[in-house]
């Protein structure tokens, strides 16, 4: 394997579709205000569920019509990622009037990398419901049925093709991104993972630019799954609070435009942040429970620091995974203490948790938090964690300061973004301010944790 040179990778554009707003600046303004975007779920009936709230994007109207792409009806996650990708390209100055790639790069040198949990899979729910109702109408008792005289051919009454690859293929086709293409369904670490893989592709010279992020939609099946786990909060998300009661599912998409720094500067693009390093180590422990000592999270954070060429004291803020469930927050706090809590910091390390505002946007969560990290570095502002009234003394120790109530102005140089998921999938990414000393080692050159 010859992976080429390790180039410094920078962020030059951001696109966001979220429960806090559409577009990077609308999202960021709401996040800075600590606006809570969660509320009652209207997309499906939650009447028989234990909770009825989530981070739904109400009245979603795509900024550009879905029909314009010519690929039939789109699921919400497909529509979100198309809009966010187009916004990121335009934000970075690489979109023409139709949203397609323009500028100095050959289209075969610009790729796409996206993360999902369910992606467009919820698209099978409506056909399953229709088939179920049809069977009921036909008088077929629930359960295994005989194959008797259907009114239509059987394959027309059953779920359509769902093809998860459409998530990364649709934006690539719509905007002319013909380089490397990746779809990473690495659970709730996927948004961060997609950014990490895209950064590696640019750093190694396999691409000149990548559109990277995540997308997911609020689905009834996932709502039911988390209901069955009794993991959903009845009202709001309270990360690291003594009275935290669970997560709220959310939805959205965030996409970053990544480029090699020399190319970005050569074309005069505004450089917002640097993707300095990342780490991906699994828990190898349990499908739903995190490792009790936060082993995978600890290893991932340490690998992200090492590949960024930074020490723990160089990090100025942590964007926590912070789901608001009792188990996850406790384990993340333990891992943070393991990595950062040596007692030698001159001041407690600020920590914030975006999910208190958005809910858990699944495969988009890490990407939305990454977008917030980039904008935080740009403006020197940490958005607040909402809904926290009594920080849990058994979670974050005195080495950490949970940013809550209002945003904090800080001279941020480096931020750690955490994303952890089911199945022990973890991915942590370090973003730095562009004028921070370049990493001694580029992304993808990390030794084991």
């Amino acid at each position: 394997m010859r992976q080429g040179l390790a180039r410094r990778v920078v962020v030059t554009g951001v696109g966001v579709v979220s429960a806090l707003g559409v577009g990077a600046e609308e999202f960021w303004a709401a996040a800075r205000r600590g606006h809570v975007g969660t509320g009652d779920v209207t997309l499906f009936d939650t009447g028989d569920c234990l909770t009825h709230r989530g981070g739904e994007i109400r009245d979603w109207t795509p900024p550009w019509p879905d029909e314009a792409y010519g690929h039939g009806p789109l699921t919400r996650s497909e529509s979100f990622v198309l809009a966010a990708t187009r916004m990121a390209l335009a934000d970075g100055g690489l979109a023409d009037g139709h949203g397609r790639l323009t500028g100095p790069y050959d289209d075969t040198r610009v790729g796409a990398s996206f993360g999902i949990v369910v992606g467009n899979r919820p698209g099978i729910e409506a056909p399953l419901r229709a088939a179920h109702l049809s069977e009921q109408d036909a008088g077929t008792p629930p359960g295994p049925a005989s194959h008797t005289a259907p009114s239509q051919p059987w394959h027309r009454r059953t779920p359509p093709a769902h093809n998860p690859f459409r998530i990364s293929a649709l934006p690539a086709a719509a905007f002319g991104l013909y380089g490397p293409n990746l779809l990473l369904p690495t659970a709730c670490a996927a948004g961060n993972g997609a950014v990490a893989h895209a950064a590696d592709a640019v750093a190694a010279g396999r691409a000149d630019a990548m559109l990277a992020g995540g997308t997911d939609e609020l689905s009834e099946a996932m709502f039911l799954m988390f209901t069955s786990f009794r993991a959903l909060s009845p009202d709001v998300v309270r990360p690291f609070d003594t009275h935290r009661a669970g997560l709220l599912l959310g939805e959205g998409s965030a996409v970053l435009l990544l480029e090699a720094e020399d190319s970005a500067r050569a074309r005069g693009a505004p450089v917002l942040a640097v993707v300095a390093g990342h780490g991906n180590y699994s828990d190898a422990h349990h499908m739903t429970a995190p490792h009790p000592e936060g082993q995978g999270a600890t290893r991932s954070m340490r690998a992200a620091l090492r590949t960024a060429g930074l020490a723990p004291d160089d990090i100025d803020c942590v964007s926590a995974h912070g789901t608001g469930t009792p188990a996850n927050d406790a384990v993340e706090a333990r891992a943070l203490a393991e990595v950062f809590g040596d007692g030698h910091r001159h001041a407690p390390l600020p920590v914030t948790a975006l999910k208190s505002l958005l809910g858990h946007a699944q495969g988009a969560a890490g990407a939305l938090a990454a977008a917030a990290c980039v904008l935080a570095l740009r403006d020197g502002v940490v958005p607040p964690t909402a809904n926290v009234e009594a920080p849990d003394p058994d979670c974050l120790t005195d080495d950490f300061a949970l940013v809550r109530d209002r945003a904090r102005r800080l001279p941020l140089r480096a931020v750690m973004n955490n994303a952890f998921g089911f199945g022990g999938n973890n991915c942590c990414v370090v973003f730095t301010r562009p004028d921070t000393e370049p990493a001694r080692r580029g992304p993808g050159t990390g030794e084991r944790a």
């Binding site: 369910v118 399953l128 027309r156 990473l184 499908m287």
Partner: protein, 379 residues
């Protein structure tokens, strides 16, 4: 740069359990495809389907290969991927069991992972209400379930990846695994693909099929018979493999991928990028001859094993590794190329993803023609 070698192959295909069954099928020593008619059990309250002809996995007992602990709630895909991983480890002389070892990682390519459980969970809610939802089924509804389950079963605590880029998914997983070793993030990666055929996957594929085909019901057939496969390759850092006395079967020399409509020739660009990374891009008249066509192209694999969708590339890669090892391929290097060209009438694909690997015999050299980024094409 670290050298990456393949030291083991594990396979469950319609040819049987084990890499030798895979190889025998490919060289024509076993009956082609082994099609069976399968009646798909419908989720509760969903319409039943007629029998469908598929190139299915043979009956096997997962507990025989994985033990009984921790497998009761796993999906069929997670079990199959686990069995392939255990067989690959045995072939490589590895224990398939580690103590939370961060030097060992997992990478899986699949486009159907978790779909059957997702559909079943949702159908259960429709038929029985929210109390009908089985919490144990939830974690298996995700595409990441097979890779995660294998990391838990084996204690592989290194990088964990799932890739779902259509038919190119499992070659992308193998490429990502090789890069994880090359970067030093892992020493050993168990990487490949898994694709099984349940009610939801088959009905989805049926719906996407363009017209009459070989299926038993006129007017709703596939272009090719659908196939099932779970295939895992053990990739190792060459120095580590040598240190433990392992016998490399092949070397992984380069990888490349590209996307686009057919007119942009994504397959050709992916192959060019992989050859460039392997140092085989032909830049001078004296440069070594590079493989230009895949040793096992997709149609040949479809013919022998059925359309294994996201696992197709892993089947191709395993066959190529075994062909290089047994010297049944004509050259010291070979190209593996998967393209996703599913442009069906009802669900026209937006474009094709192509991924290529270049493999060499365990003793083949690596010609020097410069780093990959000079190739001029996407990788």
């Amino acid at each position: 740069m670290r050298e990456v070698v393949v030291t083991g192959v594990g396979a469950l295909t319609s040819a049987g359990v084990g890499h030798e069954a895979l190889r025998q099928r490919a060289v024509g020593g076993a009956p082609a495809r082994n099609e069976v008619e399968r009646t798909l059990p419908a989720p509760p309250g969903q319409p039943a389907t007629p029998p469908v002809r598929v190139a299915a996995l043979p009956p096997y007992d997962p507990a025989e290969h994985l033990g009984k602990k921790g497998i009761r709630t796993l999906s069929a895909e997670s079990k199959a991927f686990g069995v392939a991983a255990v067989h690959a480890c045995r072939h490589a002389g590895l224990p398939a069991s580690w103590e939370q070892d961060p030097s060992v990682g997992i990478a899986a390519g699949t486009t159907s992972g978790g779909l059957e459980d997702y559909a079943a969970l949702f159908a259960a809610r429709l038929a029985r209400g929210v109390r009908g939802v089985n919490p144990a089924q939830g974690p298996q509804t995700g595409l990441n379930a097979p890779a995660s389950a294998v990391s838990i079963l084996t204690g592989a605590a290194g990088p964990n990846l799932t890739v779902s880029t259509g038919r190119a998914a499992s070659l992308d997983a193998l490429a990502a695994a090789a890069r994880a070793i090359d970067s030093g993030a892992a020493t050993t990666m168990l990487a490949g693909g898994v694709q099984l055929l349940g009610y939801a996957e088959l009905t989805a594929r049926r719906r996407a099929a363009p017209g009459p085909g070989p299926g038993p019901e006129p007017g709703c057939g596939f272009e090719t018979v659908a196939g099932e496969a779970a295939v895992v390759l053990v990739l190792e850092e060459a120095a580590a493999a040598r240190a433990r006395g392992a016998r490399p079967l092949a070397r992984l020399l380069g990888a490349g991928s590209a996307f686009g409509p057919p007119v942009t020739r994504p397959g050709q660009r992916a192959a060019h990028a992989a050859l460039g990374e392997a140092g085989l891009a032909r830049t001078t008249p004296t440069a070594p001859t590079a493989p230009t066509v895949p040793a096992y192209p997709v149609p040949a694999v479809d013919a022998a094993f059925g359309d294994c969708a996201g696992a197709t590339g892993a089947v191709q890669a395993a066959l190529t590794v075994l062909g290089l090892h047994h010297r049944t391929l004509p050259d010291d290097t070979a190209l593996v190329l998967t393209t996703d060209s599913a442009e069906h009438a009802e669900h026209a694909g937006p474009g094709s993803c192509a991924t290529a690997l270049v493999l060499g015999t365990s003793t083949s050299g690596t010609p020097s023609t410069g780093p990959s980024h000079q190739g001029g094409h996407s990788a």
